[in-house]
Symmetry: C2
Subunit: 359 residues, 2 copies
C-alpha cells in the first residue's frame, strides 16, 4: 500500500469539521486545525493529522475541554501565567503566544508560562508567529516522561522541545525546532513501524544498557537525552530538557517531571498530580528593542549567507540553515499535497464515520 496525497485545504477543512464536532467554537476549531496541520506541512508527520483521532479520544476521556475559559492568572508588564482550563494545547498555546507578542510590543519582550494545558502540536507553529511582527519567537513545552536522565533508568522527562524562530531580511527566517533528546519519539515510531533497529545512542533498556531495539520503550526502556551518553554530553541534553520543564511547569504551576499527563487517552493519568495539566513557555523579543530592524536584518542575511557558503564535507551537498528542510517541505506539500500513510487514512475515515463528517 502506498501513501496517498491529500491537498492541504482538504485536510484543513476536514480537521476544522472534526474540532467543531467535539464542541470547539468556530474560531478555535480553525486555530487548532491550522496549528495541527502545520506539522504535516513542515514534514513532522508524527505530530500532525495522524494525531487527530488521539485528540478526539482525549476529549472523549474528558481530559480535554472543548470550551475552555482561558485566563491570565498573574502578570507583570513583561510576563504572564495563563491557565488553559484544560483546553486543547492547539488553542491555549496561540492565546499565550499572542499575549507574549502583545507584551513585547509594550515593553520590548513578553514571556508567558502556561499551566493546565494539553499537547500543543509542534513548537515551531507557535514560535514562528513572532516572525511577522519582526520579533524573535520562543516556544517550548513539557511532555509525558519518556527520557531517562544521565545515569538513571527512570523515565523522568518528556522529549521537551525548544523552538527559536528569528526573522531575517531577504533570506528566509532561521527556525530551530528540536526535541532535547538524541532522536524525537516520532523517529523511533517510524523504525517501529518498519521493524528496523535504532542507531546506538537513541535508547537504553530497562537496566540502562545501550540497545538498538526500537521497541524498548514498551519493555521498560527509555529515550536518551541529546548527547546519548555521558562521554558525549548526555548530561547537557538532560539539563536542556530540565530547563524546558522548569520554564513550562515550575513557573506556571503545571505538572512536571514524571507527573506530566500522557497523550494517549488509554494510558492512565499519573497517580500524583503536583500541578495542573501540561505546561508550556513562550517568549517574544522585539528586534527593535535591541537595535534597528534594518541593521539586524542586514546582519542576519550576512550570517545566513556565511553558513550557506561554508564548505560542505565531501559527499554532502550543502550546509543547512535551521529551518531549511521544513520550509522546503512546506513548499513541496502546499503544491503537491500531503502524503498520508494508509493506516492514517483508515484512522481518519473511521473518525469521519464516527463523528458523521465527510472525509
Amino acid at each position: 500500500m502506498h501513501d496517498t496525497n491529500y491537498a492541504y485545504q482538504q485536510l484543513l477543512d476536514f480537521t476544522i469539521q472534526i474540532f467543531k464536532k467535539i464542541g470547539c467554537p468556530q474560531a478555535d476549531a480553525v486555530t487548532a486545525a491550522e496549528v495541527l496541520l502545520s506539522a504535516d506541512l513542515r514534514g513532522v508527520d508524527s505530530h500532525g493529522v495522524a494525531r487527530l483521532a488521539g485528540y478526539v479520544r482525549l476529549w472523549e476521556a474528558k481530559r480535554v475541554n472543548a470550551t475552555p475559559q482561558i485566563r491570565v492568572i498573574h502578570e507583570t508588564p513583561s510576563t504572564a501565567v495563563v491557565d488553559g482550563d484544560s483546553g486543547l494545547g492547539l488553542v491555549v498555546a496561540p492565546f499565550a503566544m499572542n499575549l507574549a507578542i502583545e507584551k513585547a510590543r509594550q515593553v520590548g519582550t513578553g514571556w508567558v508560562s502556561v499551566q493546565h494545558s494539553n499537547h500543543y502540536g509542534i513548537a515551531a507553529a507557535h514560535a514562528m508567529k513572532a516572525l511577522e511582527h519582526d520579533m524573535i519567537g520562543i516556544s517550548m513545552t513539557n511532555a509525558s516522561p519518556l527520557v531517562a536522565p544521565t545515569f538513571s533508568t527512570s523515565k523522568m522527562l518528556g522529549t521537551n522541545p525548544i523552538c527559536v524562530a528569528a526573522p531575517a531580511g531577504n533570506e528566509p527566517a532561521f527556525v530551530a525546532d528540536l526535541a532535547t533528546t538524541t532522536a524525537a519519539n516520532g523517529k523511533l515510531e517510524i523504525l517501529q513501524r518498519k521493524n528496523e533497529a535504532a542507531p546506538q545512542g537513541w535508547v537504553q533498556d530497562a537496566e540502562g544498557n545501550s540497545t538498538t531495539d526500537a521497541n524498548i520503550l514498551k519493555k521498560g526502556g527509555a529515550l536518551l537525552p541529546l548527547g546519548g551518553d555521558r562521554e558525549h554530553g548526555s548530561h547537557k541534553g538532560y539539563a536542556l530538557g530540565a530547563v524546558v520543564d522548569l520554564f513550562s511547569a515550575l513557573l506556571s504551576g503545571a505538572n512536571y517531571a514524571p507527573w506530566v499527563p500522557p497523550f494517549p487517552a488509554y494510558v492512565p493519568m499519573p497517580e500524583r498530580q503536583p500541578g495542573k495539566g501540561i505546561g508550556h513557555f513562550f517568549g517574544a523579543m522585539r528586534v527593535d528593542a535591541f537595535r534597528t530592524v534594518a541593521d539586524y536584518k542586514r546582519d542576519m542575511d550576512d550570517w545566513i549567507g556565511g553558513f550557506r557558503k561554508a564548505a560542505p564535507i565531501p559527499g554532502q551537498e550543502r550546509v543547512l540553515i535551521p529551518g531549511d528542510p521544513e520550509r522546503e517541505m512546506e513548499t513541496e506539500r502546499r503544491s503537491h499535497g500531503i502524503p498520508l500513510l494508509p493506516a492514517v487514512v483508515a484512522d481518519l475515515k473511521a473518525l469521519a464515520a464516527k463523528l458523521d463528517v465527510v472525509f
Copy 2:
C-alpha cells in the same frame, strides 16, 4: 611533578593585584578576579586563573581596554544593548547582568545583549547572580570559531555556552552550564596535555571524517556540535550554538560566526569584522513575576527531590542535578585550596615577575 594547592583568598588577592597592574580600577579588578576565579572554585580549570596571563597578553596587544566606558546604547523597559568599549568581559558582563536584574525588578524580566566585549569567564558566574534575588538567571556568549556545523568542514561557531541558573528552596539551586558542543574545548586540551586520544564524536578532521586525534584542531579539524553526527542530533547542537550567536551578536551588533575575535593574543584578528568585539546575552526573570516564590520553591524542592530519588543505572552511584558536581567542587576547594598544575604555577610566577607583584 604534582599539583600544588593554593588558598582561594591567596589566588584572589594575587589576581586583583595583576588586574590593577594593567590599569583596572580597584572595583573592576575585584570584580574581574572574582569572576575569573569562580571557574577555579567550580572545577572549570581551563577558564580560571590558568588564563590570567592570556588576559594580560590581550591587554598588551591592545585588544583589551582596562578603563572602558561601558555604556547602554539602546533600551526599552525590559531590554538593553550594552557597548563594552573593549573592556574585559569579566567586567562588562557583570555590568550587563546587573542591568538585566534591575530591569527584571522593574517589569518582571530583563534581557541584555552586549557588543564590543571580550571573554567573560564561565557562563555560570553571571547567571548565578540572579539567584540571590529570587530570579532565574541566563547567560550565554559567542566565542571564536572552533566548531563545524553539521555537514561542513568549516569552523563557523564557537563552543557558545549557555547557562541557566534557577533558585530552589531548601535544595541548592539548579545550575546548568553547558558548551553547545559534545565536549568543551578545555576537555580536549586536557587530552592534548596527556597525549591521549579523544572519544569518537568529539572532533573531526579537515575533510570532515570522524577522528580520535585530540590535536586535530591544529591540523584543520573542528570540534563537533552536541550530538556529534547527524544521526545523533548534531544538527540540534549546531542550532543551539547558532541561537547563542544570534542572541549575543545579531541582537547587539557584535562580531558573529567565524568573525569572532580569538582569545589567544598571538592569533591574528579575523580580516573581516562585521561587528564590534565579542557578544554576550543575559537574562533575568523574577520568579514572582510568574507565581509566588513560596509556591515555586516548594515545587522546585519537590522536582529536585524527585530526580535525586530516580533509580540509578546499576554501577552508578546516583543521579545528579545540574550544578551538583560544581557546587561540591566549590565546597571542597574553599576548604582545601585550588590545585594548580606546575605549568600554571610557572606561568603565574613569570607573570608576577613581569608585573612586579608577589606571588
